[in-house]
Symmetry: none
Subunit: 153 residues, 2 copies
């Protein structure tokens, strides 16, 4: 028996293919279709629809809540480059390293000056001041990847 998570993954990918790259699902409904607990949907999303794999995920709780999954376009050569970078960023990264990446993107004309400014603003030590030093790098890496993927949308 194929693993449930794989089936769910395939199902979601099919959905995305059937549309133009963006879908909106309801966690409970989907869990129901697959006869599994709702949190398994989170597991699938967390392990298969990551920024590293080129997906951008948003969600909302409460009445009318939903999970939105977008597959970004990585066909373009510049974009492909970004995808590689995203994959090469580890779980944690210093401000300095992040800035080096960002400056490189500008040099290679993958992003604009303005976008670079925004990226730096979001990943600076100053912006992350409220976070304990030990975890700043992790948060920064996550933010950086998320933003880069958003540029591919």
């Amino acid at each position: 028996m194929a693993k449930l998570s794989d089936l769910i993954e395939a199902f979601i990918k099919q959905l995305i293919n059937d549309t133009d790259g963006t879908i909106e699902i309801q966690r409970n409904e989907l869990a129901n279709q697959f006869n599994c607990v709702p949190s398994q949907i989170n597991y699938v999303i967390d392990t298969r629809f990551t920024t590293e794999r080129g997906y951008y995920v948003e969600s909302r709780r409460g009445g009318g809540g939903h999970i939105k999954i977008r597959r970004v376009n990585i066909e373009h050569k510049g974009k492909n480059f970004l995808m590689h970078i995203i994959n090469s960023i580890g779980d944690s990264i210093s401000q300095q390293s992040a800035y080096v990446f960002i400056n490189n993107f500008v040099d290679y004309e993958v992003i604009s000056e303005k976008e670079a400014l925004m990226l730096k603003a979001a990943t600076s030590d100053k912006a992350l001041m409220a976070a304990p030093v030990e975890i700043r790098g992790y948060i920064r890496a996550c933010i950086l990847k998320n933003m880069l993927v958003s540029l591919l949308v």
Copy 2:
């Protein structure tokens, strides 16, 4: 009844667009149109048409009472407007509130869709996953302000 509040919000915004920026509604009548309790109209107004988001709301009770919503005109002062918003953001903010702010910037054409997506990517719960829940709001507020300031450059 999914996303009723969103429908009401959209309806009101449409009304505002159709006029010159000021509308006058009757709470009960509107609630009737949407088949909801009157207080839901308050909920929508309280969460989506606040001062910080660029709306000015007045109301009057009693016979002939009404709610007047005015969209603040910021055409001549995009940067001042941003500055004002930055100052109105507290030390901590939820993802939802941040997104409402961001969506409003787009409405007001203070930022582009692409910039909005970057802002959302950087301030989402997903991006801040690595941070303890208790301090996420603080980090988010800081990032948001920093990024907005970067847009002023």
